[in-house]
C-alpha cells in the first residue's frame, strides 16, 4: 500500500520547486497525474500523450508492455513527462514516497530542459495537447465515416508510420513551398555572376532534394483525397514534435539526472528514504554492459563539465546544444576511457559481433564518431525525394553514408510508399558499393 498522502506530495513538491528555482532553473508548471500501473502502461503505449489518435500499433505495444510487466521481465518507468505547458507527468500509485521525490525532482529537470533547449523552440508546448486531441478526433471521424472506415484509415497510417521519421532533422526551419523556392532560385539565377547556376534546372520539382517525404507526398500526390492528406500531415506533425526529443535524449536524461541528484541531496530527505534513493539513482544512471545507457552517458558528461567549468556552464550548454554537438564537444578521451566505450559491428563471415575499436589514445575519436552515427535520428537512414518526373514518377534516393540498408525491411517500406503514391515510385540506394534500384 502507498506510504504517502496527497498532503505529503504537496509538501515535498514545494521544497523541490524552491530548490529548483535556487539552481537557476526555469520550467513550465508541472501537472502530476496520479495513476495506477494499468494507466501507466496505457500512457507508455501512446507515447505519453493523453490525447493521441488510435492505431493498432499502440494496442500492440500495450499488450507487449503489459505482458512483459506481468511476467516480471521488465519494470515500468518511474517517470514520464510530456513536453507541454503545463508539463504533464504521471506518478504511479503503487510507488513509494522515496520514488516520487526522485521522480518529481527529475521532472523539474526535464521540464526545464524542454523550456530552455533551443531544439524545442518550435514544438508549440502550449498547444500540443489540443493539437493531438484535435488530430485524434479527426482520425476517429475518418474511421467512423461509412465512406472511409477503419481499414482505409489504417492503410494510410500504416504507410505513413513506415516513413514517419523521414522528416527534416533540424529544428526551426520553415518549410518553403515550391513557389517560394522557385522565386528564391529565380533571383539567384538572375543575379548570378559566377556562372554556378548556368546549368540549374528551374523547372525541376523539387528544386532541392526534399527530406520531408511525408509532406512532399501530401503536397504533390494528385490521387489523394483530402482526408488522406490530412492523415499524412497528422503523422508528419507528430514527427516534428518528437524529433527534438530524439535528438536530445542523452542530454535531456543526463540533465534530469544531474538535477534530481542535486535537489534530492539538498532537500533533506529522512534517513529511511536515503537508501532507497541511492538504490534508485544508481539503477537509473548505471552503465549497461555492451550498450550505451543515455542516462549514464549524459549524466557523466554533465558531471564532468560541472567539475571542470562550473554549473553555470552546464546551464548554458543545456540551452544551446543537442546530442550530436554535445558529444562532439564534450566527450573527450578521458571520459571515453573511463566509460570504456568501444565500437563493434556484426561480422557476417563469422556470425559474431566483433569489437572494431576500443577507446585508446587516438582511436577514441573513431569510437566517438561511431557513437554520433548512432544517436538520435542518425541511426535512421536519410531518404529524400530527388525528383518528381513529368510522368508522375516519384524518384526517391537514399543518402548512402557507408551503411547499407537492410533490404528486407526496405522492400516492405518501399511497398508502402508505392501504395501511398499510387505506384510509379523509383527508389535507389547503394548496396555493397553498387547502385541498387528497388
Amino acid at each position: 500500500m502507498a506510504d504517502w498522502s496527497m498532503d505529503e506530495l504537496h509538501e515535498w513538491d514545494k521544497k523541490i520547486c524552491t530548490l529548483g528555482a535556487g539552481l537557476g532553473l526555469d520550467w513550465y508548471p508541472i501537472e502530476y497525474e496520479i495513476c495506477d500501473y494499468k494507466e501507466m502502461i496505457g500512457h507508455m503505449a501512446y507515447t505519453g500523450l493523453p490525447t493521441h489518435y488510435r492505431h493498432w500499433s499502440f494496442g500492440k505495444s500495450f499488450d507487449r508492455i503489459q505482458t512483459e510487466y506481468n511476467l516480471g521481465m521488465s519494470g515500468l518507468p518511474y517517470e514520464m513527462i510530456i513536453n507541454s505547458n503545463p508539463s504533464i507527468s504521471y506518478l504511479m500509485t503503487e510507488n513509494p514516497m522515496a520514488t516520487h521525490i526522485l521522480t518529481m525532482a527529475h521532472c523539474v529537470g526535464h521540464s526545464d530542459f524542454f523550456k530552455n533547449n533551443r531544439m524545442f523552440s518550435e514544438t508549440g508546448p502550449d498547444t500540443v495537447i489540443d493539437r493531438f486531441k484535435n488530430a485524434g478526433k479527426r482520425v476517429k471521424k475518418y474511421m467512423e465515416d461509412p465512406n472511409i472506415g477503419v481499414e482505409a484509415v489504417e492503410k494510410i497510417l500504416d504507410a505513413c508510420h513506415t516513413i514517419r521519421f523521414q522528416v527534416p532533422r533540424t529544428s526551426g526551419v520553415k518549410r518553403r513551398s515550391h513557389k517560394e523556392m522557385k522565386e528564391y532560385y529565380g533571383k539567384l539565377i538572375l543575379n548570378d555572376k559566377t556562372g554556378w547556376y548556368n546549368k540549374f534546372n528551374i523547372n525541376k520539382i523539387p528544386l532541392e532534394p526534399d527530406t520531408n517525404v511525408l509532406a512532399f507526398i501530401a503536397d504533390n500526390n494528385r490521387f489523394l483525397e483530402e482526408w488522406q492528406k490530412d492523415l499524412i500531415r497528422i503523422v508528419e506533425q507528430e514527427s516534428h514534435y518528437f524529433v527534438p526529443q530524439a535528438c536530445t535524449k542523452i542530454m535531456n536524461e543526463g540533465w534530469a539526472c544531474m538535477i534530481h541528484e542535486k535537489i534530492v541531496n539538498a532537500v533533506g530527505i529522512p534517513d529511511d528514504y536515503f537508501l532507497s534513493f541511492i538504490r534508485l539513482h544508481n539503477q537509473v544512471v548505471r552503465p549497461h554492459l555492451g550498450r550505451v545507457n543515455p542516462y549514464h552517458l549524459g549524466f557523466k558528461i554533465f558531471k564532468y563539465i560541472e567539475k571542470n567549468h562550473g554549473f553555470d556552464e552546464c546551464l548554458r550548454i543545456r540551452e544551446t546544444h543537442n546530442d550530436e554537438t554535445f558529444i562532439k564537444s564534450y566527450l573527450n578521451e578521458e571520459l571515453c576511457k573511463e566509460l570504456n566505450l568501444f565500437s563493434y559491428s556484426f561480422s557476417q563471415k563469422e556470425g559474431y559481433n566483433k569489437i572494431t575499436d576500443v577507446s585508446g589514445e587516438d582511436s577514441w575519436r573513431t569510437v566517438r564518431d561511431d557513437l554520433i552515427k548512432n544517436i538520435g535520428l542518425n541511426s535512421i537512414p536519410v531518404v529524400m525525394v530527388s525528383e518528381l518526373q513529368r510522368d508522375g514518377t516519384l524518384v526517391l534516393k537514399h543518402e548512402h553514408d557507408g551503411r547499407d540498408l537492410e533490404l528486407s525491411e526496405a522492400n516492405k517500406v518501399f511497398e508502402h510508399i508505392n501504395e501511398l503514391w499510387h505506384g510509379n515510385v523509383r527508389f535507389t540506394t547503394v548496396i555493397e558499393d553498387d547502385l541498387w534500384e528497388f
Binding site: 497525474e33 500495450f62 503545463p86 513506415t162 570504456n340 563493434y344 559491428s345 569489437i355 547499407d404 528486407s408
Partner: protein, 397 residues
C-alpha cells in the same frame, strides 16, 4: 508550484486498438496456414496430431541499416578488459539453413509467434472461411441413421446406468437444505445417508442423425512422365481436398485409381509410391471410376467427387475419348477437377490456324467440358495449391 490530479480510471483507452491488433494476428495466422498446408510435414498426418505453425508478427517496417561490418555500433564496458577483434555476444545465424528456403524467422528482428493446432482445428480455420458454392446445400445427399445417444439424467433406470456423480450431487443438495432448515447438525456424529430419491440414472434415447456420405475418387497418371516432384504436388493437393471433404461430411470413402494405359484401383501407399512406367491413356482411369461407381456407389445415395491429376501428357488419339468420359462423369459428380501439373504444354489454339496439324493438348480438350461441376486447375509449385483450391470451392482468393 506544481499541481496534482488524482486521475479517475477511465475506460481502457487501448481496448479498441488491442482488438484491432489481435484481429490482424488472426489474419496472419490464416495467411500462415496457407503456406503450411503444402508443407511436407503436414501431408499425410492424422487429424489429432499437433502441428506447429510459425506466424509472422504484425510489424511496422522502417528503413534501417543492415547488420554488417560497415554498420558500427557503440557499447560501454566499464571496468572490463576488452581488446580489438574480440567477439562479443552470441552467435547469430547469417544465412537461412539449407532447405528452409526463404522461410520467415531467419531475419534478425523478425517477430514470430508460434501457434500449435491439430489438423482438425487447422481444417476448421481454413475451411470455415470458405464460402461454399450453393452446391453443398442443394446437392448434398442425406441418409438418416439411427443412433443411441445420452439424453440427460432421470430418477429411474437400470443399475448399470447409475450416475454416481449426479446422485452424489442430489445428496449434497439435500444435505445443505437440511442444514439450513436446522434438521441436520453437521458437527454431530450422525451420518447423512443416501436416500432412494437421490439416485439418478443416465438416460439413453435413440436419435436420428443425418448422415452425409461421400466418396472421393483420386485418379492419377502414374506414367513415366510423372516424376517425384510432380507426384508430391499431386499428393499435397489431394491431401487438402481430402481434409476439406472430410471436414464437411460425416463419413467419407476414398478410392485411389492409378492409371497408365490401363487403370487399377490401388491403396493409398501404392498410389503414391508406385514406380512410374508406360504410356498414358487418361480415359482408362476415368472409365475405371465409372466402373467402380456402377458397382459400389450409386449416385442417388452418394455424393461423388472425382479429382484427376496428371501432367497433361496423353496420347493424342485418346483425347476425345477422355473428353467424353469427363462429360459423362461430370453429370453424376458433385464436383470434379482436372488438375494439370507442370507448365502449359506446347500446343494451343493458335497452332490450329497455322495450318500445321497439331494435336490440341488435353488441357484444351477438357476446356470443352468445363462447367459448373468440372473445373480445371494448373499446379506448378506448392504455392499454387491454395489458390487452386479456392478456385474449386469458391470463396475469396
Amino acid at each position: 508550484m506544481s499541481t496534482f490530479k488524482e486521475h479517475k480510471t477511465i475506460a481502457d483507452r487501448a481496448a479498441a486498438d488491442r482488438s484491432r491488433h489481435r484481429k490482424k494476428i488472426e489474419e496472419a495466422i490464416k495467411e500462415s496456414i496457407k503456406d503450411v498446408v503444402a508443407e511436407e510435414s503436414i501431408i499425410g498426418q492424422s487429424g489429432k496430431k499437433k502441428i506447429r505453425i510459425p506466424v509472422k508478427g504484425i510489424k511496422e517496417h522502417r528503413f534501417v541499416y543492415g547488420s554488417n561490418e560497415n554498420n558500427k555500433q557503440v557499447g560501454s564496458a566499464q571496468g572490463k578488459e576488452i581488446k580489438e577483434g574480440q567477439r562479443i555476444g552470441h552467435r547469430r545465424r547469417t544465412k537461412p539453413e539449407e532447405g528452409q528456403g526463404d522461410k520467415a524467422g531467419n531475419n534478425p528482428g523478425e517477430e514470430m509467434y508460434e501457434i500449435e493446432m491439430s489438423l482438425e482445428e487447422l481444417a476448421g480455420y481454413l475451411f470455415n472461411d470458405l464460402e461454399l458454392p450453393e452446391l453443398e446445400k442443394k446437392n448434398f445427399k442425406f441418409t438418416t441413421q439411427e443412433k443411441m445417444k445420452h439424453k440427460g439424467k432421470r430418477p429411474y433406470g437400470i443399475r448399470p446406468r447409475l450416475s454416481k456423480k449426479e446422485t452424489i450431487k442430489q445428496k449434497i443438495k439435500r444435505k445443505k437444505a437440511a442444514i439450513k432448515a436446522g434438521s441436520y447438525d453437521p458437527e454431530g456424529d450422525e451420518r447423512f445417508p443416501f436416500h432412494e430419491s437421490d439416485l439418478r440414472y443416465k438416460h439413453i434415447a435413440p436419435v436420428f442423425k443425418e448422415n452425409t456420405a461421400a466418396v472421393v475418387f483420386f485418379v492419377m497418371d502414374v506414367s513415366g512422365s510423372m516424376d517425384k516432384s510432380k507426384k508430391f504436388l499431386a499428393r499435397s493437393f489431394f491431401f487438402l481436398l481430402y481434409q476439406f471433404l472430410n471436414h464437411k461430411y460425416s463419413s467419407i470413402d476414398v478410392v485411389f485409381v492409378s492409371h497408365t494405359t490401363e487403370a487399377y484401383e490401388v491403396n493409398e501407399e501404392q498410389f503414391f509410391t508406385q514406380v512410374p512406367n508406360g504410356g498414358t491413356l487418361v480415359s482408362s482411369g476415368l472409365k475405371k471410376v465409372e466402373e467402380i461407381i456402377e458397382k459400389r456407389y450409386h449416385p442417388n445415395n452418394w455424393n461423388i467427387y472425382t479429382f484427376y491429376c496428371g501432367d497433361g501428357d496423353n496420347w493424342g488419339i485418346d483425347n476425345s475419348e477422355a473428353l467424353s468420359a469427363f462429360r459423362r462423369l461430370s453429370e453424376i459428380n458433385q464436383a470434379m477437377c482436372y488438375t494439370e501439373i507442370g507448365k502449359m504444354r506446347g500446343s494451343s489454339d493458335y497452332n490450329l490456324f497455322s495450318g500445321v496439324q497439331v494435336d490440341k493438348s488435353l488441357w484444351d480438350w477438357t476446356k470443352l467440358a468445363e462447367g459448373k461441376t468440372l473445373k480445371r486447375v494448373r499446379l506448378q509449385k506448392s504455392k499454387d495449391i491454395w489458390p487452386a483450391f479456392k478456385k474449386l470451392f469458391g470463396g475469396k482468393t
